[in-house]
């Protein structure tokens, strides 16, 4: 690539991947729902940047559309929808934890180390020099784990959506890092599904709020056995 040297691209990808991981960890330590959504938007924006760098560095032009979709859908549209949801239902913005912040962050550190070893074992199967972008595989696996962790330990309905979307971002990043993304038409279909899923969950948040006067999933306990 004439414009920017490949090693510069590699460095930039590393920086953005680190920033993505930082947003995921900050989400875990955040108490405010508004902050959750902003951090997620920032995370998606960085993700879009990584995708653009893959286009620049490796000439995978089919990722271009996926990169723009990431920024348009995940960094702009979904955060806007979720912000409107919070405004409309005027929820108490404090998030309750079932595990406190210090313990959560320690667990996250553990997950990052675990992800790195899983990523190494996946990449070890490749012969020859792996491209720089494959280094971010460990970040992507860490995001899936952190997303799952958010869903299991944070009690608001909206935090569950953010947790799910963080997992989803992790999966997208893993696709970028080891396969330069899926075929375009598949990526587009996946974005479509995510959009619909967020809209449906958004509608349910309204309904849960209407029937329970709260959107804590703690009140969703009537179904047992």
């Amino acid at each position: 690539m004439g414009i920017i040297h490949l090693s510069t691209i590699g460095l930039l990808i590393d920086i953005f991947a680190a920033a993505i991981l930082v947003t995921a960890v900050l989400i875990v330590s955040s108490r405010s729902l508004v902050f959750y959504i902003r951090l997620f938007a920032l995370q998606s924006f960085f993700l879009g940047a990584v995708a653009l760098l893959v286009v620049l560095g490796y000439g995978e032009t089919h990722i271009l559309i996926a990169a723009f979709l990431t920024i348009a859908v995940k960094a702009i549209a979904i955060p806007m929808v979720l912000t409107r949801v919070i405004e409309r239902i005027q929820v108490r913005k404090e998030i309750e934890f079932s595990i406190n912040i210090t313990a959560s962050l320690l667990l996250c550190a553990g997950m990052v180390i675990l992800s790195d070893s899983v990523a190494q074992s996946i990449l070890s199967s490749q012969h020859g020099d792996a491209p720089a972008v494959s280094r971010v595989l460990s970040v992507s696996i860490a995001m899936m784990l952190i997303g799952l962790f958010i869903m299991m330990t944070r009690k608001k309905a909206l935090t569950q959506i953010i947790g799910l979307l963080t997992m989803e971002n992790g999966v997208f990043l893993s696709g970028l890092s080891i396969t330069y993304g899926m075929p375009l038409i598949v990526e587009v279909g996946i974005f479509f599904d995510i959009m619909i899923a967020v809209l449906i969950l958004g509608v349910f948040v309204f309904r849960i709020n209407k029937t329970f006067e709260t959107i804590s999933i703690d009140s969703l306990r009537s179904l047992r056995h």
Partner: protein, 490 residues
């Protein structure tokens, strides 16, 4: 030629959805939905005939694909959709009469039913594993509002749980698919095809086994969640319990088989690539776990529809277990069981709907003496329960017996003994509860009436089919299953 068939199977439910979106009259919606599901069902038979001649069908660029396995499951799924569409007519009319459903709700129901059928066909006809994933997530989204249909607190809770748990599962499966793609990128010549199942099968031996093993674990968790394998089954009793009876029936008879189909596709691929009993051991473990987990919940159950949901967890376990045994006889048993279970689940969920509507409750101890109140549905219920718990002369007896003997002859003695233990215990629980519901005197006078005679006739036909499958298996069906077994053998 094959394109016409693919277009028919995918296009009919799309056309049905568009037409439903345009019209609002009850009568028109009923006709559209019955026609679209009926035409899909007919096309499925055409597909089967075609597959019998040509073994596999491809669209020109390989995005769509069908073989003996997909044709067989498409017949079961589209047939279930057709039966459910027919039953929905009477069911929703009664709901409207009782003012539980209004016109916009009715419209939404038929619209989503058509979309639901389309998303299932999308999974079953996709050759591209990315499309298969998109279709699977879309089945969850299409059914979300159907589960929340009655808008009670509990149904919104169930729908929330359903969408969140299934989406998490399917997100993990997507990572598994990406890993599969990764293992194939350097092997499949044209990398655009590296996500096509049929291309992957051609080079299965060259795929990296270590990566594929990890991929299979994620895929098993992901599609296992969709199928309701333990321990990822927790959404199932809530969703099946809260959804309208015909929707629960279609989820238990259609959607479950769609998820099992996805698992089978990956199972065939990974078994061929990795070998060494890796995938089959996991299947045996998860299959037995699902059966075992269902036991206590069936023995201590208050709610009839949740009882059936746990029965669905059990039977998914039975099928996955049989696939794990992995001999041709076991495959035959698994595929026959797929059909038997689908028919029995439709019969039981729809009959449960009748009972519920008559008594206004699905709590079992509030329902007694059904044989005096709604004799037809009560008879169907008790016979259906005998069928689902594996009594002769019903079909499930034959398929379970086939699976057990395949288990013993393949040397899996301990798993096979556990299998027998689980189904026997579950039988006791089932018979205990249903006999109390059906026999005896009603606690209080019940005003409710039974379903209309057309609906009851439909249920009678399902029972007749189960009876026939227990006595003899027509040679055409045998041939269909044999073709599907050949696909499973890889």
């Amino acid at each position: 030629m094959s394109m016409i068939l693919f277009s028919l199977l995918l296009g009919t439910p799309i056309a049905g959805s568009i037409l439903c979106a345009l019209f609002h009259k009850r009568r028109v919606l009923e006709i559209i939905t019955v026609t679209s599901s009926g035409l899909t069902f007919l096309s499925a038979f055409w597909l089967m005939a075609k597959v019998m001649q040509e073994t596999t069908l491809h669209s020109p660029q390989g995005w769509w694909y069908a073989d003996g396995l997909s044709a067989y499951i498409i017949i079961i799924v589209s047939g279930s959709a057709f039966v459910v569409a027919l039953y929905s007519i009477g069911y929703l009319r009664r709901q409207i009469y009782k003012r539980k459903v209004d016109a916009p709700k009715l419209w939404l129901y038929y619209l989503l039913l058509n979309i639901f059928l389309f998303t299932m066909m999308l999974v079953l006809l996709s050759n591209n594993l990315g499309f298969l994933w998109i279709g699977s997530e879309a089945t969850t989204l299409a059914t979300a509002f159907l589960v929340a249909f009655y808008e009670r607190e509990s149904s919104i809770e169930a729908a929330w749980k359903y969408v969140v748990i299934c989406s998490v599962g399917i997100t993990l499966a997507l990572f598994g698919i990406i890993l599969t793609y990764f293992s194939a990128l350097h092997v499949v010549p044209a990398s655009g095809n590296a996500l096509h199942w049929s291309s992957l099968m051609l080079v299965a031996k060259e795929l990296d086994p270590a990566v594929l093993k990890l991929a299979f674990i994620f895929i098993l968790i992901g599609f296992g969640t969709k199928a309701g394998l333990a321990p990822m089954h927790t959404w199932k009793p809530d969703a099946y319990g809260e959804a309208p009876a015909p929707i629960s029936a279609l989820m238990a008879a259609g959607l479950v088989n769609v998820a099992l189909y996805s698992l089978m596709r990956f199972y065939i691929l990974v078994d061929k690539a990795v070998g060494g009993g890796f995938a089959s051991t996991l299947f045996i473990i998860f299959g037995l776990m699902s059966m075992g987990v269902a036991v206590p919940f069936i023995l201590l159950q208050r709610d009839f529809k949740r009882l059936l949901a746990y029965s669905s967890v059990e039977h998914v376990g039975i099928i996955v277990f049989a696939l794990g045994i992995g001999t041709p006889l076991a495959y035959f048993g698994a595929l026959l069981h797929l059909l038997n279970n689908a028919i029995a689940k439709i019969l039981l969920f729809l009959t449960a709907g009748n009972v519920r509507m008559a008594y206004g409750s699905r709590i079992m101890h509030k329902v007694t003496g059904a044989i005096k109140v709604i004799p037809a549905s009560a008879t169907l219920l008790i016979l259906g329960v005998f069928a689902i718990t594996g009594w002769p002369p019903f079909g499930i007896f034959v398929s379970e017996f086939t699976i057990i003997s395949a288990g013993f002859t393949s040397g899996n003695i301990v798993p096979a003994i556990l299998f027998v233990g689980f189904i026997t215990t579950i039988f006791v629980g089932f018979i205990y509860y249903t006999s109390r519901m059906v026999l005896g005197e009603p606690h209080r006078p019940v005003k409710g009436s039974d379903a209309d005679s057309a609906s009851l006739l439909l249920l009678g036909l399902l029972l007749g089919a189960l009876l026939m499958l227990g006595v003899f298996i027509p040679s055409q069906l045998q041939q269909c299953i044999q073709n599907a077994v050949n696909v499973l053998k890889g």
